[in-house]
Symmetry: C2
Subunit: 335 residues, 2 copies
């Protein structure tokens, strides 16, 4: 069942069939409807491979991420996929796994699939293709590269990010203004957004004449138990803190668990702030105040931007959206 069958049955040439297929206006209404009728009758489905060969594209976007089962990334992938599909694009998913070791291999795999663009979801991931991103910049000459929550200033690379710095800064300021002085900061990685977040935290302290102390800033695996254990260890070493800020909700969950375990009252004795406002932050008791990074919006903008890139429009290399502080029950300042 191919274009020849249709052309024969409809009594036209394959060129005409192809035109109908592609919505080419140079087809008389009469012919068009006849061809469409035949297609319908024969249940004809164009062969996407042949089409891809002819057109050089199959309208497919590669989506790369580390671990798509992370609540935040899972949301991002869902919304990216839906947005892309609404524009007629398919999504080829590619998860590098936790190691992130062979990111480049995976990236090349995606390229070899002739995708029309690659979306790199998750900032942790973006910076690490190679040392100075030479490789990524080179690749961007071939096809658009979209960074979700990452930034790289280079032609052909487009970023959509949250105002992580401001969000973290203002959250920290709120803590400070409500009297907290010893704020523990836990982060999962020093990615682009990771760095912005910690800067926001640091500057908030500095701007309020609170010393930034190294022992208050710790890296931690993205796992609630790891975070709980780390905090407990710190506490056991005599570190005193009245607030914990985290770069990810899962770490904040660990903080709440720690407080529970030690009979520390939240928020009276300890305030906790998560990040991403994922479902995790709603599961705990008390529910965790968190910073909503608007995943859906982020994804919508990413895809819209990509479509405009395809259309050859003039597109900003970086779009920043505003995160929103969602106060729940692990903080008690007035907003």
């Amino acid at each position: 069942m191919n274009i020849y069958d249709v052309s024969r049955r409809a009594g036209v040439s394959i060129a005409t069939v192809s035109r109908v297929l592609n919505g080419n206006p140079n087809v008389s209404e009469k012919t068009r409807s006849k061809v469409l009728a035949v297609m319908d009758e024969l249940e004809y489905t164009p062969n996407v491979f042949a089409r891809g060969l002819g057109l050089g594209t199959m309208k497919t976007i590669g989506i790369m991420c580390s671990d798509s089962s992370d609540p935040y990334l899972a949301g991002a992938i869902y919304h990216l996929e839906r947005q892309l599909r609404s524009h007629g694009y398919d999504s080829l998913l590619c998860c590098t796994g936790p190691s992130l070791e062979n990111k480049r291999t995976y990236f090349e795999l995606l390229l070899s699939k002739r995708v029309d663009a690659v979306i790199l979801a998750g900032s942790k991931f973006v910076e690490l293709i190679d040392k100075n991103n030479q490789y990524l910049m080179e690749a961007a000459k071939e096809l658009p590269i979209m960074l979700v929550n990452g930034y790289l200033n280079s032609p052909g690379i487009y970023s959509t990010v949250c105002n992580d710095y401001e969000a973290m800064y203002s959250a920290a300021v709120r803590l400070i203004n409500s009297g907290r002085r010893n704020i523990l900061y836990l982060y999962t990685s020093h990615s682009y957004s990771g760095l912005n977040k910690v800067e926001g935290y640091k500057n908030a302290l500095t701007d309020h004449n609170i010393p930034v102390r190294r022992e208050y800033i710790h890296q931690c695996a993205k796992d609630l138990n790891e975070s709980r254990k780390l905090i407990k260890k710190m506490s056991g070493l005599g570190l005193e803190f009245d607030a914990i800020m985290t770069s990810d909700d899962s770490l904040a969950v660990g903080a709440v668990k720690f407080a529970r375990e030690m009979n520390i009252k939240i928020p009276e004795q300890l305030a906790v702030i998560g990040y991403n406002n994922s479902i995790l932050s709603y599961c705990t008791n008390p529910e965790i105040s968190s910073i909503d990074t608007k995943v859906e919006q982020l994804c919508t903008i990413t895809v819209d931007t990509l479509m405009r890139v395809f259309d050859g429009g003039n597109v900003p290399a970086k779009t920043v959206i505003a995160a929103e502080f969602i106060q729940k029950h692990t903080t008690n300042f007035s907003i």
Copy 2:
């Protein structure tokens, strides 16, 4: 940069290049290495579209699900993708969204992409392509259809499922044996696995001479607040219960929240059992005893089965794996 360039540079015919490309053994070692060297030198990447056109496949599997950001499905998709990739297959993701309305359209979209197989992830989803699944059975004549957590007895359709019935039955028995008599049951949908679960619950009661009462069985949206509100409403109507079983962890989280709100002691006054043992069940306080449905194993088996189908092997139409009860702190029976 195509196969001709390589053939010219290597001084062989395109057929030979193609043979090298496909690992055909009828190529002398000398020729093979020369061709490979040239490919390397020219950084040649075969055109997947042309290849797909010639071979009729692009080694791509369609993965369909409703909402890939659901913790359970997100895990499934992650593992499916990784497994498929380890076998050299790409994953084309397709999320129907919550409505599930146009599942069939999406399914056909996937077919039109000439995927080599379709994996339907999530049982909620499986049963609803059309009334009596005629459509799905018909489609299975064209390509293998893999059901993750769903079952349909028809040639070309392969299922991997958990022993949901047994898992729920034995969990209920444990509750009963530890003295619980009024067990509330909440489920999200009457899918294949959903029905099995509720049957397990019912039969456990019946087998222990406890009447199955309709007002103890309720459908609820997969949302922790919906579940909390529903339970609260039931309680307000005077319904008494000393245990809550759920078909999904998110509902169990709502149960814990309800107990918190009403100052009901868990597990003393109220036992709660979740399902899927997702990260949500670890976030609450107390952590929720849940039934681990072994997503990773489920996915590995699904993909292994699919590979054996491709190899033309004799493959069981249904594989059942054993769920495992994970006791945490919302139950207190001895195991």
